[in-house]
């Protein structure tokens, strides 16, 4: 579907997320105040009741995540938004969401530091937590947009993926993107794709909530559909939804959950390149840091260095194959990330020792500058 854009709006990233969520069909928000994500909740509180949807400010972050999964199981398209400490609190229920296959979207507007850290300053230090934060093996989709137009479209895509694959999807922003205002042109309604979870066509007596005979994503029935009465549990369960400790069934089901991501990479993966065609010095960067990396690429080119940017929009699952292909043309790669070195491990794992991997990391609340990235680029060129 070709989207046709409407009027330009000048908005902070957090508001862009809320506007896009509603455009994607979101009709439930359960939240808890936390800087720097609170504007998402405030905007949803204003938007949702006007459209017949529901907003609720829960008593804590854990409850916010619980309410979102509950609403989703009852058929809602549900969103929550938080930041580092709140994301930590949400993780147990996030794992529940993966286990019971409840579609929903979780925004983490990342801020600095472990613990309370730097509530009003940006960071990109929750990227590994997004992948591995909740306990046990689980699939993860995490999206890191870098521009507001992209944030708008990726919020819609986050909802679409969560519905299509019946799983929580994480949208990672940071304080810079959340609070920075820039122009967006939201697509006109009806000119972009909205995907809703696949409903079963089985009658109640034939319905199995985790029926895999239709593929790895079981068709859904919201609660209260007459006669269906399905059981939902965070315990390992079989296709009937009831607990099992049968090693074979548990293995099969956990592998299926992973396969929803590994088997749908064509839907999920998204990498953007900037001046990458002829590049021999690569930069790997995502989110707001990638904006500085683009400036660094330009400056490098002005100085005769053939730099190019590899920018994962979908950060998880990690774009190993795409990065491996790109690395073949490179003398070396700079990993610019606003933390003390997290995604660099994935980059190193991907390129092995074929080329040098230079870390450009930072903490302290002041974003990485183009000049700092350029310095690292020069180490390779």
């Amino acid at each position: 579907m070709k989207e046709s854009n409407g009027e330009v709006k000048f908005l902070p990233g957090n508001i862009v997320v809320a506007e896009a969520a509603v455009a994607a069909g979101c009709n439930f928000f359960g939240g808890y105040p936390i800087t720097p994500s609170s504007e998402i909740a405030a905007h949803m509180a204003a938007l949702l009741p006007r459209r017949g949807g529901h907003f609720i400010q829960m008593e804590d972050e854990i409850a916010a995540m619980g309410s979102v999964i509950g609403a989703s199981l009852a058929g809602a398209k549900a969103l929550t938004a938080t930041s580092g400490p709140g994301f930590s609190l949400k993780l147990e229920n996030l794992g529940f969401g993966y286990m019971v296959e409840a579609p929903c979207v979780i925004v983490n507007v990342m801020r600095g530091g472990p613990s309370t850290g730097l509530p009003t300053h940006p960071a990109q230090a929750d990227v590994m937590q997004a992948r591995w934060g909740t306990h046990g093996d689980h699939p993860t989709i995490a999206i890191t947009p870098a521009f507001h137009q992209e944030t708008y479209m990726e919020t819609i895509r986050a909802f679409n993926l969560s519905e299509q694959l019946r799983m929580p999807v994480i949208l990672l922003l940071d304080e810079v993107l959340g609070h920075l205002s820039e122009g967006v042109r939201p697509p006109k309604p009806g000119t972009f794709e909205i995907i809703n979870r696949k409903m079963t066509d089985q009658p109640p007596d034939k319905y199995l909530p985790y029926d895999t005979s239709f593929g790895d994503v079981p068709p859904f029935v919201p609660y209260f559909e007459p006669g269906y009465h399905w059981h939902t549990t965070g315990l390992n369960h079989d296709e009937t939804g009831f607990p099992t400790t049968n090693p074979e069934l548990v293995t099969r089901d956990e592998e299926r959950l992973m396969r929803k991501v590994t088997g749908n990479r064509d839907l999920i993966d998204k990498v953007e390149y900037y001046m990458a065609d002829d590049a021999d010095v690569g930069i790997f960067s995502f989110g707001s840091t990638a904006r500085a990396a683009m400036v660094a690429v330009k400056h490098a080119r002005e100085q005769g260095i053939k730099a190019g940017l590899f920018r994962p929009v979908t950060l998880w699952p990690f774009p190993n194959k795409q990065l491996k292909d790109f690395a073949e043309q490179l003398k070396g790669i700079v990993v610019a990330e606003f933390n003390l070195g997290q995604m660099v491990y994935e980059v190193e794992r991907t390129v092995q020792s074929t080329i040098p991997v230079i870390r450009r990391t930072k903490v302290g609340g002041v974003p990485i500058t183009p000049a700092e990235i350029l310095e690292s680029v020069k180490e390779i060129s």
Binding site: G30, P49, G70, F96, F224, E225, Y228, H229, G234, P243
Partner: protein, 273 residues
């Protein structure tokens, strides 16, 4: 009306996993009795639980059933009730689940006065994890983690929830199933947040450590201490510390129900504004 087990139970899931003589079965029976009395269509009921022996109850009930994370049943229930306020949302959990790890959700659901019916099977112990003391374990009672007797004062859940603003608060016990049916019927019929504490027996984990390994001994111990409000009030101060009042303890039908209030907001925003 006769019991209608077939409508509300998943027969094929029986036998249940509880110890013979466990009080949870009495609570489930009273719930089914109430659903039957009120003629609730099972498709219109969502029953949500947390983690623990009590929280396994929904698995046996033939309706929309959700077995959530430890302590969080009410948060999931709130999301469900907000999205489908036309449906019945019932929460059942144990004392540890609901008043320790889930205590925050309990007081806030009560404060909002959202139309969720909560039943706490209070057996004064963590049963499933092996008999650790809970916020309702009596002072001095023995538990796996209180081998020398519990040093912590205990919660009065009814007073706690009433204090948090619940519009319906009641207490029953497993020694009087008929009374429990009456209480549950009033609670489920109430518009707004309703809370029913059922004083129950875990002879396996609590009784065994406190000289009541036989379920009947424990149920007698409970029944002897249960007093209707009027009788309870007439007791001496000393007797009051040993006994507990049963029946409907607080009921306020004047408070607005939360999802209705929210619906009024939706309607007002969409009518010419």
């Amino acid at each position: 009306m006769p019991f209608d087990y077939m409508t509300y139970l998943r027969e094929e899931k029986l036998p249940h996993m509880w110890c013979p003589g466990c009080g949870i079965g009495i609570v489930v029976k009273a719930m089914i009795h109430t659903f039957t009395d009120l003629e609730w269509d099972p498709s219109d009921i969502a029953i949500i639980s947390g983690i623990g022996c009590t929280s396994r109850a929904p698995g046996y009930m033939d309706m929309n059933t959700l077995h959530t994370t430890h302590g969080r049943a009410l948060s999931f229930a709130t999301g469900i009730k907000m999205h489908r306020h036309d449906k019945h949302v019932v929460v059942i959990a144990g004392d540890g689940d609901m008043s320790a790890i889930g205590g925050n959700h309990l007081i806030h659901a009560a404060r909002r006065n959202i139309n969720i019916n909560v039943i706490v099977n209070n057996n004064n112990i963590y049963g499933m994890t092996g008999g650790q003391y809970s916020p309702t374990t009596p002072l001095g009672a023995k538990a796996a983690t209180a081998p020398y007797g519990n040093l912590e004062p205990s919660f009065d859940l009814v007073e706690l929830v009433k204090g948090a603003g619940a519009s319906f608060v009641a207490r029953g016990h497993v020694g009087n199933g008929r009374q429990l049916n009456t209480i549950l019927k009033k609670a489920f019929d109430h518009k707004g947040f309703s809370f029913v504490e059922v004083v129950s027996n875990c002879h396996t984990q609590f009784g065994r450590r406190n000289k009541m390994a036989d379920p009947m001994n424990m149920i007698s111990w409970i029944s002897d201490r249960a007093k209707p409000m009027k009788k309870f009030e007439a007791l001496s101060d000393e007797d009051k510390t040993r006994c507990f009042p049963v029946g409907v303890i607080h009921e306020d039908v004047s408070r607005p129900e939360y999802t209705e209030t929210y619906q009024e907001l939706i309607d007002s925003l969409n009518n010419g504004n």
